[in-house]
């Protein structure tokens, strides 16, 4: 059963610039889909349309059977069930780590302060950051901040998770601590859509790989097919460049 469906989606930033061109794909429940492609190809835009952070002009998107593209009033509730992790973490700098994890729980889900806190501490333990609960984001390393950001999404009990280049702002030595958390999540059966150039991660846990170029989904293939013999020339070029690194 598809958790996320993206059907014929087009988006323009202005009348002359089309950033997404008839994109169609879907993500099944429990599936991990990696989205890659050159800079400016529309990966971030596509992933942000899934929880309506970016509106689209054409096409429909559904999450768990609900149409995101036509929904208005219940959008915040739906968004709270779709976890999102950003390239630059975007933790709230004026809130302590534990407060970062409680804000959505209390204000959106209506949980009590106590139960939110308990849940937050449990999730911090899971990402190995219990000792940092009372610190502020600015006092943590990039890798730690990104793990907190993942925990902030997880405390909301998401039905799926979106990642937009979660490791590309990190120093190389911190990439693995974040990828490890993501691998574990994938193994637990979380539905995930991940924009990343970490092909090691893709090979390890992805079910499918989507390759985008110039706003189009050029290739949408099972992992082994994608890495074995990408059909399009553009994907081949992209892969040889990125794997050469």
């Amino acid at each position: 059963m598809p958790m996320i469906t993206i059907d014929n989606v087009s988006k323009w930033y202005n009348p002359t610039f089309q950033v997404l061109k008839n994109c169609t794909t879907s993500v099944d429940k429990g599936e991990v889909v990696v989205v890659c492609g050159p800079s400016g190809s529309g990966k971030s835009t596509l992933i942000k349309t899934v929880n309506a952070l970016e509106p689209v002009q054409e096409g429909t998107i559904t999450v768990d059977g609900l149409s995101v593209t036509t929904m208005k009033k219940d959008l915040p509730k739906l968004r709270s069930r779709v976890g999102m992790v950003f390239q630059h973490f975007e933790l709230f700098p004026h809130l302590r780590i534990v407060e970062n994890l409680c804000l959505g729980q209390t204000k959106v889900l209506g949980r009590s302060e106590d139960s939110a806190r308990a849940k937050a501490m449990k999730m911090l333990e899971r990402v190995g950051l219990t000792a940092h609960a009372e610190k502020y984001p600015g006092q943590l390393s990039g890798g730690q901040q990104q793990r907190v950001a993942i925990a902030r999404a997880l405390v909301m009990d998401p039905i799926c998770m979106l990642f937009d280049e979660p490791t590309s702002a990190l120093d190389p030595e911190m990439i693995n601590e974040v990828l490890d958390v993501m691998v574990e999540l994938a193994k637990e059966g979380m539905t995930m859509m991940v924009v990343t150039h970490e092909m090691g991660f893709a090979k390890k846990v992805a079910n499918r790989v989507i390759f985008m170029d110039a706003g189009e989904i050029v290739e949408d293939a099972q992992k082994d097919d994608f890495f074995g013999s990408p059909r399009s020339e553009r994907a081949q070029q992209f892969l040889s460049k990125i794997l050469a690194h």
Binding site: K48, N51, L53, P76, K77, L78, R79, S80, R81, V82, M84, F86, H88, E90, L91, F92, P93, H94, L103, G104, K107, V108, L109, K135, Y136, P137, G138, Q139, R152, A153, M156
Partner: protein, 262 residues
């Protein structure tokens, strides 16, 4: 006071028509002809009015300025245009003109009875000055608030939205707490401007500090003492506010954010 300086000032005053100026620093403890107390106590009551007026005007400026500043950062077009128009209007008309409009023109435009009631309000000039100055300063507060919100990383708004916060909640819990910290120093100087601008209120008859200094000069002819006192009091007031704001600013520092050490 140093003798050479006194001599210099006496000469300068003489040149301005004050021949044989008699220095009298004890004047502050003398009774005013109106028998309302000493000159010192009238200056103090002027200071009280100045502080009251500044606080009331600032409250208006802060509340309305924040509202206008916020709507200018909303994603839709009309609130932004409305906010911009508001700012252009109140920022570009001289404060004195605005005060005269509120005091002399607006009551005439009101329905007759309401206008008459306004004109004979006991503290009418004070309320007028409070509103006039408050609205004038609100345009400046609004500019700062918008700038503060716009200075935040775009991702902050997105992160708030993504965890399911509504627009109002995103402002309330994320954008505003951050923005006010960012603009705390410029807001402090706008508050100091508000204090200084209260002096304009004397033109519509508010007996604030400058008005009191002027009436002291008129009754006692001790112009130099009167305005020295006013100057010193204004400076002291600014110093107190500046020190208080510094202290508050330090308390708002977050480790790893606004100048806080990580």
């Amino acid at each position: 006071m140093a003798q050479p300086l006194h001599g210099l000032l006496t000469r300068a005053l003489a040149a301005g028509g004050y021949v044989n100026y008699n220095w009298n620093w004890g004047i502050f403890w003398e009774q005013t002809p109106e028998a309302t107390g000493t000159y010192f106590s009238t200056l103090m009551s002027g200071l009280g009015v100045t502080i009251m007026l500044a606080l009331c005007a600032w409250t208006i400026a802060f509340v309305i300025g924040s509202f206008i500043g916020i709507i200018r950062t909303l994603p839709s077009k009309w609130p932004v245009r409305l906010g911009n128009a508001y700012i252009e209007m109140f920022r570009n008309i001289p404060l004195l003109v605005q005060l005269f409009i509120w005091f002399f023109v607006v009551p005439e435009l009101l329905p007759q009875e309401l206008g008459a009631w306004v004109k004979q309000l006991r503290n009418g000039p004070f309320y007028t000055a409070m509103i006039g100055l408050g609205l004038y300063m609100s345009s400046r507060v609004a500019t700062q608030v918008s700038a503060g919100i716009n200075s935040l990383p775009k991702g902050q708004r997105m992160a708030g939205t993504a965890i399911g916060l509504t627009t109002v909640q995103t402002y309330r819990y994320i954008l505003l707490p951050l923005a006010y910290r960012v603009i705390f120093p410029p807001l402090t100087s706008e508050f100091l401007n508000t204090i200084k601008n209260t002096a304009v209120a004397l033109t519509i008859g508010v007996l604030e500090l400058t008005a009191r200094a002027r009436s002291m000069q008129e009754f006692s002819f001790q112009v130099f003492e009167a305005f020295t006192a006013a100057t010193v009091i204004y400076l002291a007031l600014s110093a107190v506010v500046t020190i208080g704001m510094r202290y508050a600013e330090q308390r708002l520092v977050i480790p790893g954010f606004n100048g806080g050490k990580a």
